[in-house]
């Protein structure tokens, strides 16, 4: 068992990264999805397209731009200067930012669909019942869209756990700091440590299985509740 001790740091870091990323991405994705679902602005599909880009771009392209943005001459570097650091690249914060950008489309889509499925009527009803637009959002739209938000959260979490390319580009695979499960597996394979690679890879297969199954069950449950 002692030999497996060194497997724990990448697992722990992966879970931390996925949790922080999921919470943060929800804060960005929910208002964005609401705006995309409700706004009548002409440019909104352009915004939707930009948000979707990470879905089709190779991780290296995305990683490259995020790396530049986080680096010493990008906005990330200037932010890092606030606490005396040179760059956000190769840090945990940098990883979170990269993962937010790359998981945003996966999270926004189900939430936007859920908001669109609500339609105008419940919000009109809320308005006639004295709810301001802000209250209608919290008391009606958000609870009605909660299955979509839950789906978005689960997808965002698992997307981040499975992120390899972006994490490698901007994290640099530094043990204990930016080395997560997916990059650790890569290392173990390179070093021909098949046992370790096997355990981590098997763990991720099991994780993905649990995620997808629970998503299906959650959806079924909500469908029953609403019937």
């Amino acid at each position: 068992m002692e030999t497996l001790q060194h497997l724990w740091p990448p697992v722990k870091l992966t879970l931390q990264l996925a949790s922080v990323t999921t919470l943060t991405v929800l804060l960005v994705a929910t208002p964005l999805a609401w705006w995309l679902a409700r706004s009548k602005a002409r440019g909104k599909e352009v915004v939707a397209t930009i948000v979707s880009l990470p879905m089709v771009l190779p991780a290296t392209v995305l990683g490259f731009y995020v790396l530049i943005a986080l680096g010493p001459s990008g906005p990330g570097g200037r932010i890092a200067n606030l606490w005396g650091a040179r760059t956000l690249a190769f840090t945990f914060t940098g990883l979170v930012i990269g993962c937010i950008v790359s998981s945003l489309p996966t999270v926004v889509q189900p939430i936007r669909n859920a908001f669109e499925a609500i339609g105008d009527r419940p919000l009109e009803a809320a308005a006639t019942l004295r709810a301001s637009p802000w209250q209608a959002f919290w008391r009606v739209a958000l609870p009605l869209a909660s299955p979509g938000i839950l789906s978005g959260a689960v997808l965002g979490f698992s997307h981040t756990v499975g992120n390899f390319g972006v994490v490698l580009m901007i994290g640099g695979n530094i043990p204990g700091r930016t080395r997560v499960m997916s990059t650790a597996i890569y290392d173990y394979v390179e070093a021909m440590k098949w046992d370790e690679a096997n355990i981590l890879a098997g763990g991720m297969v099991a994780f993905a299985f649990v995620v997808i199954l629970s998503m299906i069950l959650i959806e079924k449950r909500f469908a029953r509740m609403r019937a």
Partner: protein, 370 residues
């Protein structure tokens, strides 16, 4: 009537070939029905009043409080003291019936009008047994009752009802109508009621706004429009007048209720009722015949002196005669539909004294004492 008790609305809008140009005012009391065929713009009008649609050229005020004006004044929907009942109840599926009912209930009591009490509404609409249930598996009629209760509990100054019965089947409709009658009589909230169904108008309305192709054809009290020979109501096959009578006595031997209306007393078979109770009566034009002399023994109980107000030929064979009850002809108006032959044989003319024989008087639900 002073301005303070009036609802005034005027909306003008042109949209893809449809011109909406409606202006009317109605007393802020009782039920005002907006009546017209589908596509006449009545839903647009009520949505404008609610602030759910904003047309530039619009005006709306109630009790002297301006909700919309042409200078850009526009109170957003959630700030208008209104209740709105949608065609489909549109309950919130994630909240229990109780939470749906209380969704828009203000924390503070209204200062300028009597409070509508939660328990009173729940009992009146008979939904107490449903309170803790989610609305998902309720019947259409139950949902609509909760939709009505939810709107009432916002303590509205005006209740807007957009065809609340049209999504329901016939049987459920007849279950809900008495509830709407009850709330009309029980709570002092003026109601704007949209419908394309004449029977709902006859049972519920006090005032009527007739809409056609986006325009107001006629507006006035129900009695006025029903007995106006130029209104489409009076010339229809089912033309009838709705009167309000107060119970003057009850004959237990035959189970007959005597109700006095301006200009006369009408008799109808009925279970006993309280003296002075107000009841709505409905008399079809085809159930009224006229005679020059007091008829002898007859199966018809209601024979009342009246005077001819107007005659209007409907087609080459039939005419509509409007009579006013009372020997001097200053009472309620009735319609009588008859053949041209009868009109000529009786030598009917305006101002002539006649006897109106009413074959059938339909009694509505009690309206309480006034």
């Amino acid at each position: 009537m002073s301005v303070g008790q009036t609802i005034r609305a005027a909306f003008r809008n042109e949209l893809a070939g449809f011109t909406l140009d409606t202006a009317f005012e109605a007393p802020a009391k009782g039920v005002t029905a907006l009546f017209g065929p589908s596509g006449c713009g009545k839903t647009t009008v009520i949505r404008c009043i609610a602030g759910l649609i904003r047309v530039k050229d619009g005006y709306c005020s109630i009790d002297g409080e301006v909700w919309q004006d042409r200078d850009g004044t526009f109170l957003p929907t959630h700030k208008r003291p209104q209740g709105y009942v949608f065609q489909e109840a549109s309950l919130f599926p994630h909240l229990s019936v109780r939470k749906n009912l209380l969704f828009g209930a203000p924390k503070e009591k209204p200062k300028d009008r009597p409070q509508i009490d939660f328990d009173e509404v729940v009992d009146l609409l008979r939904v107490r047994h449903l309170l803790e249930r989610p609305p998902g598996n309720l019947s259409g009629g139950e949902r609509q009752r909760i939709g009505i209760g939810r709107a009432l509990l916002t303590q509205p100054k005006l209740l807007l009802m957009d065809e609340p019965l049209s999504a329901l089947d016939r049987k459920t409709k007849s279950e809900i109508l008495p509830f709407i009658e009850k709330l009309r009589d029980h709570f002092a909230v003026p109601i704007f009621y949209i419908t394309h169904d004449l029977t709902e108008v006859e049972r519920l309305a006090d005032q009527l706004v007739l809409l056609e192709k986006g325009h107001v054809v006629m507006a006035g009290s129900l009695a006025e429009l029903e007995s106006n020979p130029n209104s489409p109501l009076a010339t229809s096959r089912e033309a009838a007048v709705s009167l309000t009578g107060s119970v003057s006595s009850f004959d237990p031997q035959y189970g007959l209720l005597h109700l006095s209306v301006p200009g006369g007393v009408l008799t109808a078979p009925s279970p006993p009722a309280e003296i002075n109770e107000r009841r709505r009566l409905r008399i079809l034009a085809s159930d009224v015949s006229l005679a020059r002399e007091y008829p002898g023994r007859s199966s018809i109980l209601n024979v009342l002196p009246a005077r001819v107000v107007t005659l209007k030929p409907l087609d080459p064979y039939e005419s509509l005669v409007v009579v006013a009850l009372g020997e001097s002809g200053d009472g309620e108006r009735l319609l009588s539909r008859m053949t041209r032959k009868s009109v000529e044989e009786l030598e009917l003319a305006e101002g002539l004294s006649v006897f109106a024989q009413v074959k059938y008087v339909a009694l509505g639900a009690g309206r309480g004492e006034e």
